[in-house]
Symmetry: C2
Subunit: 260 residues, 2 copies
């Protein structure tokens, strides 16, 4: 018997960066419940399945998490093969755990299909490895969506002890930089903002921790942003020749090509 | 013109968890240089390509990193389509950054194809989300291979401020637990050891931070181990019903099935 509900990670947005298992789950789905940030090219892989957006939209309240659970459970009980499609990975700030628990409590069979998390892949697509010998042997991932989520970890984080990656961190970048600098991090620590990783609008701002707050992000509107803080940011210059310093650069259409 | 060298992440070992792009890179390769931990089922996707292992083997010294660079460069200069295949993700303790820099310095075109990192996917396959509302809103990833790599970050890490994931941490688990407990972490913090994630031999030990050091891992021989420390570990009981407390459990053949 196949599982009725698949909690599927869609990765950064490029359909080529889906897993083989995710592609098959989409092809076999009767119903796809997707987040607003999932790319149309990925939804197209669902063939004739019914599609329903459950993500936040501008000016409209998001569907409550409990309503998503109810939709998943109802569809599964009707025998539908359901894919719950999330940007990145379901278990990295994706609320996949909450949905898994709700399904388990309702006695619904499910599987989890991991996806490439933006915590690693957004930096990678901008030419930044989160670890690199001699520069970083650890990394830290936080959500910037509210201060209670990142302050306990960041306020005492030993300076330069890890690469810091912040998902959903655009709005709180001034506060994040202030916290780290207040904790002893050098204001000259290299920093980057990777915008729209894995999409045709992808571009990267590069500067310093002190400069994060005042970074001009003219083309950022509507794009998800990932902050990367640490010495590894400097590698982008060589690993992706298309990233320029201290300003937002043009879109690069393909990930990480260093052409001699 | 296509890129000559692809630095490809193979993910946790299950061929279904490769990206579409990785599968194509393998199918088009003339030569595959792979690490010892890459599964035979994944190598089989390379068709008629030449295969060459550059990973560590028991009793024999590993090939030096510089020699790997030389092999990549030489093959690319002969016009071969080369895949450098690594377990997990090339940029998470995979030395992909070093290889990218060496290729760039030699003027060789390359691309990076990210893979699912064991830092997120090994816990996920054992039913453990690295983040979960109310339990963890951040996670930290370190390598356990030597103390200089993890001590600067872990010795001051605020208790319970993040899920801690340790790759290659089996040998140093006693020291890791000692460091965290010395820094104020509760010795009763839930902890897990995920062994051989994504392989047929996969199984999980579950217990506490204090119990990590003395965990009996009879079936661990030769399997890569990922440590997970934090309250999210308790979710495995529900998300993967096949994980039992305080002892190593039987292998589970498929990831995360909760069958009501």
């Amino acid at each position: 018997m196949s599982d009725l509900v698949s909690l599927v990670g869609a990765g950064p947005g490029d359909p080529e960066l889906l897993t083989v298992k995710a592609v098959r789950a989409l092809a076999e789905a009767d119903l796809v419940l997707y987040d607003a940030l999932v790319a149309p090219e990925i939804l197209a892989l669902a063939g004739t399945a019914q599609r329903f957006s459950v993500g936040k939209r501008c000016g409209r309240p998001a569907i409550r998490q409990e309503s998503i659970h109810a939709l998943l459970i109802r569809a599964a009980r009707r025998g539908k093969r359901v894919v719950r499609l999330k940007g990145g990975d379901p278990f990295v700030f994706g609320r996949g755990g909450e949905e898994a628990l709700a399904l388990a409590a309702a006695g619904i069979s499910f599987e989890v299909v991991p996806g490439l998390t933006n915590a690693v892949v957004a930096p990678a697509l901008a030419g930044i490895p989160v670890t690199h010998r001699g520069l970083a042997s650890a990394f830290v991932v936080v959500s910037g969506h509210d201060e209670a989520a990142f302050r306990p970890l960041l306020e005492g984080l030993a300076p330069a002890s890890a690469t810091v990656v912040v998902l959903m961190g655009l709005a709180s970048r001034a506060r994040l930089a202030e916290l780290l600098i207040g904790g002893g991090w050098s204001s000259a620590t290299p920093a980057a903002i990777v915008l729209g990783a894995g999409t045709a609008q992808a571009h990267t701002w590069q500067g310093t921790l002190a400069g994060l707050a005042s970074a001009e992000l003219a083309q950022a509107a509507g794009l998800p942003g990932t902050l990367v803080i640490g010495a590894v940011v400097t590698l982008a210059d060589v690993i992706s020749r298309r990233v320029a310093k201290g300003r937002a650069t043009d879109a690069f259409e393909e990930p990480i090509h260093a052409r001699g």
